[in-house]
């Protein structure tokens, strides 16, 4: 049991882990078992990528050709026409902008609010802190469908004339931002409070004795030290919020207001006769997450493993 690393230790380890593809270990002699293992892993990895490669292959072929020759056939033409068509015909840039309008404020505000809660919980040992953390974390683990019916009604009831386009919280980017913050902040507060607890108490105590206000302790001392954890969480949150399908499906009624992941469902409905085009659209939707993942792989993985309590 004692060998179990604390979540923060896991983070630090993951952040320190060797950069990809760099061989630093001494070369082990080639053994047959190793070769077999590599053959197995390479085969399995290829099998894992196969559905995506198949989607890419289908997306790169003209519909006319596949409907004539069948999908399992040698290609005459391979091009990116379906991608450009999907992008322009269904006005995907519009939906990407919708996603940005929702995701950017949601990620920043979630980190801001949850770091404040974490600061309070980890630095000031008032009696409520454990209960508070428990409430936040448990809330984050609930299936979304448990709360959706009253939430939907609530959003319909709240009138915001002049603030949102729809005049209500329903069918607005603001509504989605709020539920993302409320739902995700539990997880972030949990992770950040664990991280902050590992920072030496002398840091803030000294500041306190010097008369620094609570806000300055938070903003100028604790927060800058949490940068690695914040980076990991920001990566994770961006991908989760970008990938959200359910909240927008229920809480947005106008197709025009949908973020890209949920809009994909409507787009595929409109172009269902051309699977190649739909494949291209789906892959285009996945590209931003793949870029974030490849660039920030370590942050993503460390965030996920340190917040392993997240479904």
């Amino acid at each position: 049991m004692s060998s179990h690393p604390s979540p923060t230790a896991t983070l630090n380890e993951a952040l320190r882990a060797a950069p990809p593809n760099v061989m630093t270990k001494p070369r082990t002699p080639i053994r047959p078992a190793r070769i077999l293992l590599h053959l197995f892993l390479a085969g399995a990895a290829l099998a894992w990528l196969a559905p995506l490669l198949w989607a890419l292959y289908s997306a790169m072929r003209p519909y006319a050709e596949t409907s004539e020759k069948g999908y399992v056939s040698w290609p005459d033409t391979l091009n990116f026409d379906n991608f450009t068509n999907a992008f322009t015909q269904s006005d995907m840039s519009h939906y990407f902008v919708n996603t940005m309008i929702i995701a950017v404020p949601a990620v920043l505000l979630t980190l801001f609010l949850s770091s404040m809660v974490a600061f309070y919980v980890s630095r000031f040992d008032f009696r409520v802190n454990l209960a508070l953390l428990l409430v936040f974390t448990a809330g984050n683990l609930l299936p979304q469908q448990v709360i959706i019916t009253p939430l939907y009604r609530l959003y319909l009831l709240i009138d915001l004339p002049g603030i949102t386009m729809s005049g209500k919280l329903y069918d607005s980017a603001l509504g989605l931002v709020l539920i993302h913050i409320a739902f995700q902040s539990g997880f972030c507060a949990f992770v950040l409070s664990n991280y902050m607890r590992t920072l030496p108490h002398e840091l803030t105590e000294a500041a306190l004795v010097d008369g620094a206000s609570v806000w300055r302790q938070y903003w100028q001392i604790v927060l800058p030290l949490c940068r690695p954890a914040m980076a990991a969480l920001a990566t994770l949150l961006s991908i989760w919020i970008y990938n959200d399908f359910f909240w927008a499906l229920v809480l947005i009624s106008t197709g025009e207001n949908m973020p890209i992941t949920s809009a994909l469902n409507n787009l595929s409905g409109a172009y269902f006769t051309d699977p190649n085009l739909v494949a291209a659209g789906a892959l285009l939707t996945a590209i931003p997450t793949l870029i974030v993942y490849f660039v920030l792989q370590r942050q993503f993985v460390s965030g996920l493993t340190l917040g392993a309590n997240k479904g």
Binding site: M1, S3, P5, E13, A14, P20, N21, M23, R34, L37, L41, A45, W48, L49, L52, W54, A55, G70, Y71, V72, L113, M116, V121, F124, D125, L133, L134, V135, T137, G139, L141, L142, P143, V146, I147, I148, T149, P150, A182, S185, A189, L208, V214, N243, D244, F245, L249, T261, S262, N265, P275, L283, A286, L290, F294, F300, T305, A308, N309, G311
Partner: protein, 325 residues
């Protein structure tokens, strides 16, 4: 300021902190150094996020519970009528979709825990062996976890589509008369969608186990090898038992995933016959043709109860451990 301080001291004396007070490392002196403005700041810092979270997550969860005992058409509060256990009675005895949905949620969990979870563990153990290209393999297995369930649904439709899909094209079942309807056939579709779900879950489990394996003390492995244990014995008797904390996390994550399953099925076939899930039934009562608020809430309550049975013991154990640490 002096009165302020004495008042604070008296308060601290008369209201001693709860239970485990002696174990707490943080000096209570903190509180006395705080100015009124600091305390206001702190209140806001903790209060604002808490109010938002509780209002949108917990109040709505409780509202689900309350609404489950009523009927409501959603127009005006006067039309809310208390009906007691009527919704549940109808749900348990008179809804042809409810028990299949429960069964499918259970099957979803069982499949995830029996196939992709051990597979993810197996891959993690192999990739933990300090082999070349480990990162490349990891990236391939983990890729599906990064993509949205909606995109995964569309990608797998290209494989399962009866006319144009990969499988039917390969086995020649894409002609009239020979169709195998992977998406529509109620005997097949749940399994088809579970293949896609497992495809994603394996990578997730692999990453969790890889993190767990990194925490295993290397000397344990050496000692085991010195004792003459082979690879399997070492894993079974030494490594696996030390992975207990990871296993707990994996179990909870898998149960929650099984309860949350929605996007994939919705994209796949909207939860048609054969793939009903509790989450789908709740959603159909909001955006579907039949908008029955009380009834939908009753299904949500079933989902809530199952979730809490898992969440509460897990969190209590986690926080108890943390308190000791």
């Amino acid at each position: 300021m002096t009165t302020e301080t004495t008042k604070e001291t008296r308060e601290a004396a008369t209201v001693p902190p709860s239970g485990a007070a002696p174990a707490k490392k943080v000096p209570q002196g903190h509180r006395r150094l705080l100015t009124r403005r600091d305390r206001l700041t702190l209140g806001l810092m903790a209060g604002l996020p808490t109010v938002l979270h509780i209002a949108l997550v917990w109040v709505t969860a409780l509202a689900s519970v309350a609404l489950a005992f009523t009927t409501w058409d959603g127009i005006g509060f006067d039309s809310i009528k208390w009906v007691g256990l009527e919704n549940f009675k109808e749900l348990f005895t008179n809804n042809p979709q409810f028990w299949p949905a429960v069964e499918h949620n259970v099957v979803w969990f069982v499949v995830l825990i029996v196939i992709p979870t051990p597979l993810g563990l197996f891959l993690a153990v192999q990739l933990d062996k300090k082999i070349r290209f480990s990162r490349v393999y990891q990236t391939a297995f983990f890729l599906p976890v990064v993509m949205s369930m909606a995109v995964i649904g569309f990608v797998w439709q290209l494989i399962y589509n009866p006319d144009t899909g990969l499988i039917n094209s390969l086995i020649g079942a894409n002609e009239p008369g020979k169709y195998i309807d992977w998406i529509g056939d109620p005997d097949l579709n749940l399994w088809a969608v579970l293949v896609a779900a497992s495809w994603r879950h394996t990578g997730y489990m692999m990453i969790l186990y890889l993190a767990g394996l990194k925490g295993v003390d290397p000397s344990l492995r050496e000692a085991s090898a010195l004792d003459g244990a082979n690879e399997w014995q070492t894993f079974k008797n030494v490594i696996f038992p030390t992975l207990r904390p990871t296993n707990t996390v994996v179990l909870v994550v898998t149960i929650i995933e099984a309860l949350r399953a929605f996007d994939l099925v919705f994209v796949f076939n909207k939860g048609a016959e054969g793939t009903e899930l509790l989450s789908i039934l709740v959603t159909n009562n909001i955006i579907g043709e039949s908008s029955r608020i009380g009834y939908g809430s009753a299904i949500a309550v079933v989902l809530l109860l199952i979730s809490l049975v898992v969440i509460i013991p897990y969190l209590v154990a986690t926080f108890r451990k943390e308190r000791r640490a």
